[in-house]
């Protein structure tokens, strides 16, 4: 399986991680229209190529990590400090 770059633990087998999803900003819950909110809930870019994702290093440091990954080639880059 892929090796994912954990900024805290080093490169680790993807089996240690949980995939959370594409990084999507949560709209203002008090201002969002249904269409806007449901885009946040359901629509995804799902590109064949580089994508920004959120992963959880479940069997490691327990941190949520921002990772850029190429969904075709499997290359991965950690984008430190951006999990928030």
């Amino acid at each position: 399986m892929l090796l994912l770059p954990c900024p805290h633990c080093g490169p680790r087998d993807a089996a240690e991680f949980g995939y959370v999803g594409e990084r999507v900003a949560r709209p203002d819950p008090n201002a969002a229209t249904p269409q806007h909110w449901r885009s946040y809930l359901y629509l995804r870019r799902n590109p064949a190529g580089w994508t920004d994702e959120l992963w959880l290093h479940r069997a490691g440091c327990g941190r949520y990590l921002a990772i850029s990954r190429n969904t075709v080639t499997g290359e991965c880059r950690s984008t430190p400090g951006e999990a928030g």
Binding site: M1, N30, R58, Y64, G74, G84
Partner: protein, 930 residues
Amino acid sequence: MMRLEPQPGEVIDRGRPLTFTWNGRTYPAYAGDTIASALAAAGERVFSRSLKYHRPRGLLTADAHDPGCILQVGDEPNVPGAARRVSDGMAVAAQGAWPSLRFDVKALNRLAGPVLSTGFYYKTFIRPRRLWPLYERVLRRFSPGGRVPAAPPDGRYEHRYVHPDVLVTGGGPAGMAAALAAADLGARVLLIDDQPELGGHLRWGGPDDLAALTELRGAVAEAGNIEVLADSVVTGRYEGGLVAAVQRLHGSGSLTERLVKARPAQLIVAPGLIERPYVVAGNDLPGVMLSTAVRRLIKLYAVKPGDRAVVFTANDDGLAAAADLERAGVDVRRIVDAREGGGIIRVRGRGGVRAVECADGRVVRCDLFVTAVGWTAPTALVTMAGGRAAYQAGAARFVPAELPEGVLVTGGLAGDGTLDELVAHGRATGQDAALRATGASGGGAPISSLEPAAHPQLFAGRTDGVVDFAEDVSSKDLKAAVAEGYDSIELVKRYTTATMGATQGKLEAVNAIAVVAAATGRSIAETGTTTARPPYIPISLGALAGRNYQPVRRSPMHDWHVEHGAAPLVAGQWIRPDHYGDPAAEVRNVRQHVGIVDVTPLGKFELRGPDVPDLLELLYVNRWRKLAVGQVRYGAMCTDDGVVLDDGVSGRLGEQRYLLTATSSGATGIGEWIERWLQTEHPDWRVHMIPMTDAYASINVAGPRSRELMERLVSGIDMSNEAFPYMRVRLGTVAGVPDCVVWRIGFTGELSYELHVPSGHGLTVWQALLSTGADLGVRPFGVEAQRILRLEKGHLIVGQDTDGLTQGFSAGLDWAIKMDKDDFIGKPELAWQRVRDSHLMLVGLQPVDRRTVPPEGCQIVEDGGRIVGRVTSSRFSPTLERAIGLGFVAPHLSEPGTVVTVVLPDGGRVPAKITPQLAHVDPEGTRLRV
């Protein structure tokens, strides 16, 4: 007997004779013999029947890829008999032939040959439809393969992780040289070879080859940092550079196979070359063999492969094989050299080779036809790893054209050369790999070039013969497929099943491509290859699975439950006590006296910090900011689509200390959920979360006499109703165990206390409760009684009384959802749900007939059959002595008193009445507050 005098490089140990059985008859063998070599030595020539036409099949390649020698060995099906060594007492049998290998009734298929043309089953058995199952049964009778045993077979399997810098697969001269060179530079090397001993083709070479072999083997044995895995095959290189090999173990107890996994910095692929069969009429008769097959038989196993031979060659290896045959006493009647214009029309015979018809018209009688028409470079590992193979017409083979990062090739896969050239290339490759692996530099010494040697493109003769021996697919079948419009190699492959059998294209793919290319008028390069997929060789389920580690979680009181006759309930990873014999009695005991239940799997999380109230306000749909120290509250969580995620009670233990509980099944996920919101949305909040699920043993003490019982065991807490009322939490000592959390809640609907005890003391407290409360009638109760009690009380279970689309207002959480909070997860969707007001509603249900309990999952219908709801929970209530339930109904049916129709599994329909509230017992909640 076909056994020869001792040969210089033979691998059999004549000092260790063995016996084994073949189709019930006992045969001799020597240690080191393969099943096939021992049988061949005894004069056997037929080992199997072909898949479709049940033609007799003998040895073709005499190695692991031999398609004619797939056998049943004891309880193991589909064993490659030309690779598996004989062990004493082994029971070997032919597969698929009936009644016997010699006389196989299914060979009658041959008569129907013209009709059973490729894809015939797509064209017939179409009408009448009802007869297809019958035809299918007949077809299945002709399916190939061995038998799986009825009981789990002998054998044990395990996984091993290794950490070499350089992994070399293939222990021929180039592979050994590569390993040695890498090791010389300090790299840790793993050298993997599929044979019992290293050497590759040197093992069946001449005296010079054997001398070089001895030297190389000695050097490998002396090298400190080379580990050799013999009898092992690399099955694939996967993403992330992961390499797996399956190692067959002999004589190590019951351990059968080991899956070895590594992520080497560099992988050197050195598998050598695979000799290709020749496609011509009669090429699958027993007695047709590859040049490497006869050389293996003679040199390694001292078996004479036949008496009179014709050799058809397009290279010098064929000539070397002819020389070996002569030395072994085989009468080589004719050598037909394609380079000199020679050719073969067909091989004649029935049940075995009788004669060979040459292109010049001569017919030569013989019992052995040996071909040496070219090589296939096994590029599969390279292409699986992301590399590319390209056809080199001059060398008549596909070669690695692009290597993926971290993969190098040497030996025959890279090119051809003398022994010295192979070794030199191996050494340079090994050095390069070691330097790359240890990061010494971008690359090592320049690698001397090893070019594939020129070779005639010789794939098929003028007559049609078998292309895929495992699948019984002929060149005629391939041409017919092309003529029918299946004109790309992938379509031909799928239509004819060529390359889809046991050999997975290793022997036959290039011949198939050549035949398809000729039939379509395209070149081989244009036709291209099919995709190689892992595993490189078939790998057992046992080896893949390894030892079975399925984690199980048990509470500290688990053994007590077992000793006291608890029926186990598998709930996710937890094994829980379902009941101790009579759940209804357990329910009554709780309602009348007091019971205790082990609720350790309950998810528990300690939250600390000044911003915990902000977190709780966000997580839960209800309000938390005013929760005072010592208070507990029920809370429900939704996801951002408004769907109910989890629920539980949480309490404030101190100024900045909270304990949050989640459902048992949701525990792990809720911990991650909380962390996610903290880490990604609100990293500024000062909150620490500590998972406590396993740190506390949890016991619920429930029943009218629970306070009396608790008072006897608790110190430091005033247990009176005034001092410790409903929905409060206290910290104190229970049964002498300090630091316990005690909260007063009521999942069961009774006066009850939930204890969270440091888990090491769980059993102590459990036993103390039972012994101290014997006179109060305390009894343990299990999960089933707890479920009945909660259903009587109308408490929902998330995931049972809700599903993946159940939003908050459907779950009867109206009272809890606070839309005036600034934010909470799921708020917008819940706002819209309330406006829409068309959702299913969770209601209490009571079947009009008090004895009829509709099983959970039964549907609620109207107008004859339209589904308008379902029963989510149902039980017979021992307290009310009637059937009770919870369920979803459409909004127009949710008014209390409405009678709805429930469909039973047998189709019967029963009326059930909607109750005023979810609770069936004590809806006012007085029993909780006493």
